[in-house]
């Protein structure tokens, strides 16, 4: 008999029928009687004082039901990160980027809303603006927030071990500088929210990654008890970090709904999404590493500057993550991390898949390739020599349990045929490797609280023919509803096909922090496992009475209760569940999960802590056209250590998506601005995402691994797979070109220019020799 009956199997997604038939309702698909449509008016200037707002013309337009500005909403500052609450629902004194929120309208239909927005007259005094983080940090630069001098949003200085001493001992000390660009999550579904009141109770349907944080911040902003705010997640069309924090649509919609006494649906157009942003930060990254003659890393110094944009968003955490996660993959003792996150007059940046870590990882992996080249060591071999081992502690005090970094590298080398290819590919072709690691859930929540991180309730239906799992965990497409139902069925001894789920509704489902930091399989999964075992224990007690057996000798699997001593003695789950209901009332299981206390005591120590870390190695093979600079990725391999796998099909699908996103970020994607801070490409054609025609052959493979801190040994995969990606493509492109472009994206133009420069240099060099 197989060890598990439900987990470890590629069952179809629980929501797949709803999604292939068009039945699945996303927030924008919902309609309520008497519902109005609303939109937010945003600033056309990057930095300007608001002198006057005249809404009278807009209010007169037939069909307009309400127009609101900062005067109509709470002035309490908010932000997802309690470290810096620096946003207002609407700007009060000044606007800080093109797209800052100024006013909002609710009207009978969309056309009227757009007309009304044009009729709102805002008088601005335009102020000098700054768009570059280094310029923003200079004395005399325009001051964006009065409270933050020199536009320093946050400053980090961490020092572990003794980097200077390590460098002094090193055979080679090398410094490289890289720039990572601004990218945007660009989920295909635009953000929307529908707000409605029943007396003093507010209900918000929305496209969110975390109903809990929305509920928390909406309640705080309006001074409501949490119990009077109900946040319901509908189907969500992708998030990737961009739908984690309040968007302004919920706040504005709630006020418009209050004033009009009608439900109000607010939405972003595609260009509004780009302006609201919260995507990946632009980072300037200088890395210095000291190695011995064999390439063993003795110490590393990361010195970074981040363009945060106009507000904090999740940026404090992003800034810490940028440095914290660099210590995971390689074993070294001395580490120094310096970072400044600067305010600029651009849209605020936040957490995009991999949160702060993919770009520093790109820089580190490219830098290590340079080190390997300089030492004449194979880059994969260099990584193997430094690979972290299980049951170790990083210099910044992260405890790593399971870790198959070495096995990932070895398997990637084997399946990609690395040894036959490295250094032996024809001109224009290249192969590159990079590794990564990521948290399986953050050790601490975004705001300070002692609430459990996840909770679950399972209710068995009276006749036992179904069981409903209630979880706050948030399925945004990654498949948490499916894997959590598999886990529930496994723990109960039940079948996946009979599971139902209600998730992410703050009124009906128990608390959970939501979909971020790759936390749900481990954390929500742990709560679900406990709830399932609770059901099973109660059921076996009942069965013991019915079968006249000791419950300790009974077990349940795939809906059949059996005696472990006499396996032919069985009872169906349904019969026992029904008897339980008749005798005791509802059969309910409960579970919750709180991570152990993790991490050190230094400033910023909680960021990057996790009960478990995933590890991955990626290799890509590319072809560069010397004439045009055009890059074709031919094949990419991912080998993952993600612990026990609950649903292999969904797991590999996460890897596919990560390699796709990473490919876009490596070669094409970049949010660009004009000289006045206006986005040049706020749409899905000029912001160039890969299409089906761009994709290489993808191989996603696994290594055996079991994580003691996760239920059944699970770890994360969703974000971890994006961590090595940009580094792996960049290193392959470097291998193909023989010259390095030190900034992302590795656009055709940059590649073409670098190759031209290289040719000219070689020609020049040749002449000298003559």
């Amino acid at each position: 008999m197989e060890k598990y009956s439900v987990i470890g199997k590629s069952v179809p997604k629980i929501d797949s029928r709803a999604k292939v038939t068009g039945q699945a309702k996303y927030t924008g698909d919902l309609k309520f009687p008497n519902m109005l449509i609303g939109k937010i008016l945003t600033s056309p200037h990057a930095h300007a004082r608001i002198l006057n707002i005249d809404t009278s013309e807009a209010e007169k337009l037939p069909g307009v039901k309400a127009v609101i500005t900062h005067k109509d909403v709470p002035s309490l500052k908010y932000g997802i990160s309690p470290a810096r609450w620096d946003e207002n629902i609407f700007c009060i004194d000044k606007v800080r980027f093109v797209g800052d929120k100024v006013a909002a309208v609710a009207a009978l239909d969309e056309e009227t809303v757009y007309k009304a927005l044009k009729l709102i007259k805002v008088e601005y005094e335009v102020l000098p603006a700054v768009f570059d983080p280094i310029e923003a940090l200079a004395e005399g630069a325009p001051q964006i927030h009065d409270e933050y001098r020199r536009n320093i949003n946050t400053e980090i200085h961490q020092n572990f071990g003794n980097v200077e001493e390590a460098f002094a001992k090193a055979h080679l000390v090398r410094t490289d500088k890289f720039i990572g660009q601004r990218t945007y999550q660009c989920p295909i579904e635009p953000h929307s929210a529908i707000s409605m009141w029943e007396g003093g109770k507010l209900t918000v349907y929305c496209s969110t990654q975390s109903p809990h944080y929305f509920q928390h911040y909406i309640a705080r902003e309006f001074g409501l008890p949490m119990g009077d705010v109900r946040v319901i997640k509908t189907y969500v069309g992708g998030g990737f970090g961009g739908k984690l924090e309040p968007t302004g649509l919920e706040f504005a919609g709630a006020v418009l709904a209050r004033i009009t006494g009608r439900p109000v649906k607010m939405f972003y157009d595609r260009h509004d999404m780009f302006a609201h942003n919260r995507g990946r930060h632009r980072q300037i990254m200088e890395i210095t590493t000291g190695v011995d003659k064999d390439g063993k890393i003795l110490g590393m110094h990361a010195n970074f500057i981040m363009d945060g944009g106009a507000y904090t968003s999740l940026g404090i955490a992003s800034a810490y993550y940028a440095g914290a996660m660099l210590t995971l993959t390689y074993d070294f003792e001395n580490y120094k991390f310096d970072m400044i996150r600067a305010y600029t007059n651009l849209p605020a940046c936040g957490a995009q898949r991999g949160h702060g870590a993919p770009q520093p990882r790109y820089a580190f992996e490219c830098h290590l390739d340079n080190v390997a080249t300089q030492l004449g060591i194979d880059p994969l071999e260099l990584r193997l020599r430094n690979a972290r081992q299980p049951n170790t502690v990083t210099p910044n005090e992260f405890k790593v349990n399971s870790c198959e970094m070495t096995a990932c590298l070895e398997k990637a080398r084997e399946i990609s045929d690395w040894e036959k290819k490295k250094g032996q590919l024809p001109k224009g072709k290249g192969i590159g490797v990079a590794v990564g690691s990521f948290v399986s859930g953050a050790g601490y929540p975004i705001y300070r609280t002692d609430l459990p991180h996840s909770a679950a309730i399972i209710k068995v239906h009276p006749d036992g023919s179904a069981a409903t799992l209630y979880v706050g965990a948030t399925d945004i497409g990654q498949g948490s509803d499916t894997v959590l139902c598999q886990m529930a069925a496994e723990a109960m001894g039940y079948t996946y096909e009979n599971m139902k789920i209600i998730s992410a509704d703050t009124e009906t489902t128990p608390h959970d922090f939501g979909a971020y930091a790759s936390r749900q399989t481990l954390m929500s999964g742990a709560a679900v496992k406990q709830a399932g075992e609770d059901v099973k224990n109660q059921l076996l007690e009942m069965a013991g009475v019915m079968m006249d057996k000791n419950p300790g000798n009974l077990d349940c699997r795939e809906g059949v209760i059996f005696s472990k001593l006499e396996p032919e003695k069985t009872l169906p789950f349904t019969a026992v569940a029904r008897e339980y209901f008749v005798k005791n009332g509802p059969l309910v299981g409960r579970g919750s999960y709180t991570p152990p206390k993790l991490g050190g005591t230094f400033k910023g120590a909680p960021v990057g802590t996790s009960p478990a870390y995933s590890f991955a190695a990626q290799i890509s093979e590319v072809q560069v056209d010397e004439e045009t600079g055009e890059i074709n990725v031919n094949h990419v391999w991912d080998v993952h250590d993600c612990g026990m796998v609950i649903n292999p099909a969904l797991l590999h699908a996460q890897v596919h998506g990560a390699l796709y996103m990473g490919m876009g970020e490596s070669i094409w994607e970049e949010v660009q601005f004009d000289a006045k801070g206006k986005i040049l490409n706020p749409n899905m054609s000029d912001y160039r995402m890969p299409t089906a025609l761009d994709m290489p052959v993808i191989t996603s493979a696994l290594v055996e691994s079991c994580e003691p801190a996760g239920p059944w040994g699970v770890k994360e995969v969703g974000e971890g797979a994006t961590i090595p990606t940009m580094g792996c493509y960049a290193n392959a492109i470097y291998d193909a070109m023989g010259v390095r472009v030190n900034s992302l994206p590795l656009s055709y133009e940059k590649v073409w220019r670098a190759l031209k420069e290289k040719r000219e240099k070689e020609k020049g060099g040749g002449k000298k020799k003559k």
């Binding site: 590629s10 179809p12 997604k13 929501d15 797949s16 029928r17 709803a18 999604k19 292939v20 038939t21 068009g22 039945q23 699945a24 309702k25 996303y26 924008g28 698909d29 309609k31 037939p62 969309e110 999550q185 660009c186 989920p187 295909i188 579904e189 635009p190 189907y235 969500v236 069309g237 992708g238 990737f240 157009d269 595609r270 945004i476 497409g477 990654q478 498949g479 099909a649 969904l650 590999h652 699908a653 596919h656 998506g657 990560a658 390699l659 796709y660 996103m661 749409n683 899905m684 054609s685 995402m689 890969p690 299409t691 089906a692 025609l693 994709m695 993808i698």
Partner: protein, 163 residues
């Protein structure tokens, strides 16, 4: 096409069309987009709106069998024509082989692009029942997906073509 002026002087046109086999007569403005007629007036919200610029393909429907972005089609242009939306792909309870194949091949994540993907694939398979992988990729090149890297979508379409 018949038109009436409303009290603000805006023309409204009466159009007749077949949607998923149903003969319908509706009134639209000259600037009403097909996507908004389907979603807002006919409540066929399986057709998604992702960009309103013809970039993403999530609003793809079949117009006389051809895959089109319904945000680039005026409702009045659909007068007298036949439209299939995702709601019309299954035969009552029986799913289309493409829908089955998307489920079996784990080709769905968030699902927001799924309706458009299936309709683009449907148009392809109707015209070309045994496409090559490149033909499949070309047929869905106008449908953006941010979740899957297209890997399982391409696999699902090829498997449906084999079935």
């Amino acid at each position: 096409m018949q038109g009436v002026k409303d009290k603000n002087g805006v023309m409204r046109y009466v159009i007749s069309l077949i949607v998923n086999g149903d003969y319908l007569t509706v009134t639209v403005k000259g600037n009403t987009l097909l996507v908004d007629l389907l979603r807002q007036q006919l409540n066929l919200t399986g057709t998604k709106r992702g960009c309103k610029l013809g970039n993403c393909g999530s609003c793809t429907v079949l117009l006389d069998g051809k895959a089109v972005s319904s945000c680039l089609v005026l409702a009045v242009e659909a007068d007298g024509r036949e439209i299939t939306t995702i709601e019309g792909v299954a035969q009552s309870e029986k799913l289309d082989k493409l829908q089955e194949s998307f489920i079996d091949n784990a080709a769905i994540q968030c699902g927001y692009c799924t309706s458009g993907m299936i309709l683009s694939a449907k148009a392809l398979l109707t015209k070309n029942p045994h496409p090559t992988e490149t033909e499949v990729r070309t047929a869905i090149a106008g449908n953006l997906c941010r979740c899957t890297g297209y890997v399982n979508i391409v696999k699902a379409i090829l498997a449906a073509a084999e079935a």
